[in-house]
C-alpha cells in the first residue's frame, strides 16, 4: 500500500465558539488604553474622561446616596412606561395579526408613526401629558409601542398555520385557538421583539427626562452634558449601558422559563 493516505480534513469552521474571556479582555484593554492616553495627555481631557475619574465619580454618587435618588425614579419610569407600551403593543399586534380589517387600518398608521422622532414631539407631550410623571410614561410607552406592535404581528403571522388548521379540524372554538395555539406560538417572537423595544425604552429615558425631571439617570446625564462634566456624563451613560445588559439578561431568563419547551 505505497500510495495510501488518510483522507484530508476539510470541514469545520463557520460555527461560532463561545469565548467569554475575550469580551472581558476587550473591555479591559479599551479602558486601559483610554486611561493611559488621558494620563499621557495623548487624549485631551475634552475628548474623553479618565476612567479612574469616572469610577471615582461613580463611587461618590453611590456614597452620597444620590445614585438611588436618580436610579429609582428612572427605573419606575422605565417600568411603567415600558409596561404600558409593551402591553398596548402586544394587544394591538395580536389584533393586527388576527383581523384583516384591523391590520389594513393600523399597519400603515404604525408604519407612519415609527419614523417620527420622539424628541420632536417633546413640546406636545408637555401639553398632552403635562410635565410630571405622566408625560415620561407616555413618551417611553409611545417609543416602546411601535416596535412591539411590529414584532408582535410578525410573530403572530409566523405561527405555524398547520397548528391552527389542526385546532380547526378538532372544532376548537376561536377563543381556544387564539389562547392555546396562536399566543403561545407567537411568544418566542414577541419576547425577542421585546429585547429591541426595551433597549429603545432605555434610550428614551433621556428624552423622557428632558421634561421637567429633577432626578433620574436621564436628567443626570442631561445636566452633566449641559455642564460639560464628562466624568458624570460617562457615569450616567455607563449606568444606562449596564441597565441595557441587565434587561437583556432578564429577557433571556424569561425566555428560558417561558420557552422551556424548546429545550
Amino acid at each position: 500500500m505505497a500510495d495510501s493516505r488518510e483522507v484530508a480534513f476539510r470541514g469545520g469552521g463557520f460555527a461560532p465558539q463561545a469565548k467569554p474571556w475575550v469580551g472581558v479582555l476587550v473591555f479591559i484593554t479599551v479602558i486601559c488604553i483610554i486611561e493611559y492616553g488621558t494620563r499621557q495627555g495623548i487624549i485631551s481631557n475634552l475628548t474623553l474622561p479618565r476612567p479612574t475619574d469616572v469610577l471615582a465619580t461613580f463611587l461618590d454618587l453611590w456614597r452620597s446616596g444620590l445614585l438611588w435618588s436618580h436610579l429609582l425614579p428612572s427605573l419606575s419610569r422605565l417600568f411603567v412606561g415600558a409596561a404600558l407600551g409593551a402591553t398596548a403593543g402586544i394587544c394591538i399586534g395580536v389584533l393586527i395579526g388576527l383581523f384583516s380589517l384591523i391590520r389594513a387600518g393600523l399597519v400603515p398608521l404604525v408604519a407612519a408613526i415609527f419614523p417620527i422622532p420622539k424628541i420632536a414631539l417633546l413640546p406636545l407631550f408637555v401639553i398632552w401629558f403635562g410635565i410630571d410623571e405622566a408625560s415620561k410614561y407616555a413618551l417611553i410607552a409611545f417609543g416602546t409601542f411601535t416596535p412591539t406592535v411590529v414584532a408582535t404581528y410578525g410573530a403572530v403571522d409566523n405561527v405555524d398555520r398547520t397548528l391552527i388548521r389542526m385546532g380547526q379540524s378538532f372544532s376548537l372554538s376561536w377563543f381556544s385557538i387564539v389562547t392555546k395555539i396562536v399566543l403561545p406560538g407567537a411568544m418566542p417572537g414577541i419576547l425577542s421583539g421585546l429585547r429591541i423595544s426595551l433597549a429603545i425604552a432605555i434610550i428614551l429615558l433621556v428624552a423622557a427626562e428632558m421634561l421637567g425631571a429633577e432626578y433620574g439617570i436621564g436628567a443626570y446625564i442631561l445636566e452633566a452634558g449641559s455642564l460639560y462634566d464628562l466624568e458624570r456624563l460617562f457615569v450616567g451613560v455607563t449606568i444606562l449601558s449596564l441597565l441595557g445588559v441587565l434587561v437583556s439578561t432578564l429577557i433571556g431568563y424569561t425566555e428560558k422559563r417561558l420557552l422551556s419547551w424548546r429545550g
Partner: protein
C-alpha cells in the same frame, strides 16, 4: 355514518385542482387515495373535512355520527401538528378541553388512548423529546380521543423513516382490526396503500380526476409483507401511475 362526494370540483384562482370527483366512503372501511404530487390529494381531504369549501359539488354526510363522538371528522396530519409547548398528555387534552366532560372522564380517555398506542410511560414528555414515530402515535392518540366517525389521514407516515413507518403501519392495522374505523388515507406509497386500503382511488395529474378505483378484498390482517396478490396489485397500480409520475416530476412549478 357514510360520506359521499358528489361531483366535487375545486379551483384556486385560475388553477383547477380537482375535477368531477364522485366517491363513496362507506363506514368501517379504509379508502386510500394515491396520485402524483400536487394532484390535489390534500385539497380533497380538506374538502372532506370541511376545512375548505369546494368550488363545485358537495360532501354529504349520510346517517348520524355515532353517539359520543366529539368530532366526527378528525384529521391526522403528515407533520404531526403537535403543540411543542404541551406535553404528550396535554396535547391530547387540548382537543377535549372545549367539550363538556369533567376531569376524571378526560383523564380516563387520555389514559385509554395513550395505552392503546403504548405511550403511557411518555405522557409527561414534550414533543421535542420524542422520535418521529412516537410523535405520530401521539397524533393518532389525539385523533382517537375525540372518538371520530371518520379519520382523515394525510400521508400520516411519510415524515417517518422507513423502518419506523413499517412499525407504525403494523400498529395502525392492529388498531383497525381491534376496532374497525372509517378512514380516508392519503399516501404516496403504493406499498402502504395495498397494505391498508380496502379500496384504492388513483387520481390523475392536476386537475385531479379519478383514474381508477382498485378494490382489494384480502382482509387486512392477512396482508403480510411480500404477499403475492399484494405485489401484483402494487405493480398494477405502479403501471397506471408511472407516466403521470414522470410527467409530474418533469413539470416546472409556477410562481
Amino acid at each position: 355514518m357514510d360520506l359521499q362526494l358528489e361531483q366535487i370540483g375545486h379551483r384556486y384562482g385560475d388553477m383547477a385542482v380537482l375535477d368531477n370527483i364522485n366517491l363513496d366512503i362507506p363506514a368501517g372501511k379504509i379508502v386510500c387515495i394515491v396520485g402524483p404530487s400536487g394532484c390535489g390529494k390534500s385539497t380533497l381531504l380538506r374538502l372532506i373535512g370541511g376545512l375548505e369549501k369546494p368550488s363545485a359539488g358537495s360532501v354529504v354526510q349520510v346517517g348520524e355520527p355515532p353517539a359520543g363522538s366529539f368530532n366526527p371528522l378528525t384529521y391526522v396530519f403528515q407533520d404531526f401538528a403537535l403543540l411543542p409547548w404541551r406535553t404528550v398528555e396535554d396535547n391530547v387534552r387540548l382537543v377535549l378541553e372545549d367539550h363538556p366532560i369533567n376531569k376524571t372522564e378526560t383523564n380516563a380517555i387520555i389514559h385509554d388512548v395513550l395505552s392503546r398506542t403504548k405511550l403511557i410511560e411518555f405522557r409527561h414528555a414534550f414533543p421535542r423529546q420524542l422520535s418521529g414515530g412516537m410523535k405520530q402515535r401521539v397524533a393518532i392518540s389525539r385523533a382517537l380521543a375525540v372518538k371520530p366517525a371518520v379519520m382523515l389521514m394525510d400521508e400520516p407516515l411519510s415524515a417517518l423513516d422507513s423502518q419506523t413507518r413499517e412499525l407504525l403501519l403494523d400498529d395502525l392495522i392492529r388498531l383497525w382490526c381491534r376496532e374497525p374505523f372509517t378512514s380516508v388515507y392519503v399516501t404516496h406509497n403504493l406499498n402502504e396503500a395495498v397494505r391498508i386500503g380496502h379500496s384504492i382511488v388513483v387520481l390523475s395529474r392536476r386537475p385531479g380526476r379519478i383514474r381508477e378505483v382498485v378494490n382489494i378484498d384480502l382482509p387486512l390482517e392477512q396482508r403480510a409483507r411480500g404477499h403475492i396478490e399484494l405485489d401484483r396489485q402494487q405493480t398494477h397500480l405502479w403501471n397506471i401511475m408511472r407516466d403521470e409520475a414522470i410527467a409530474a416530476d418533469q413539470e416546472l412549478l409556477s410562481g
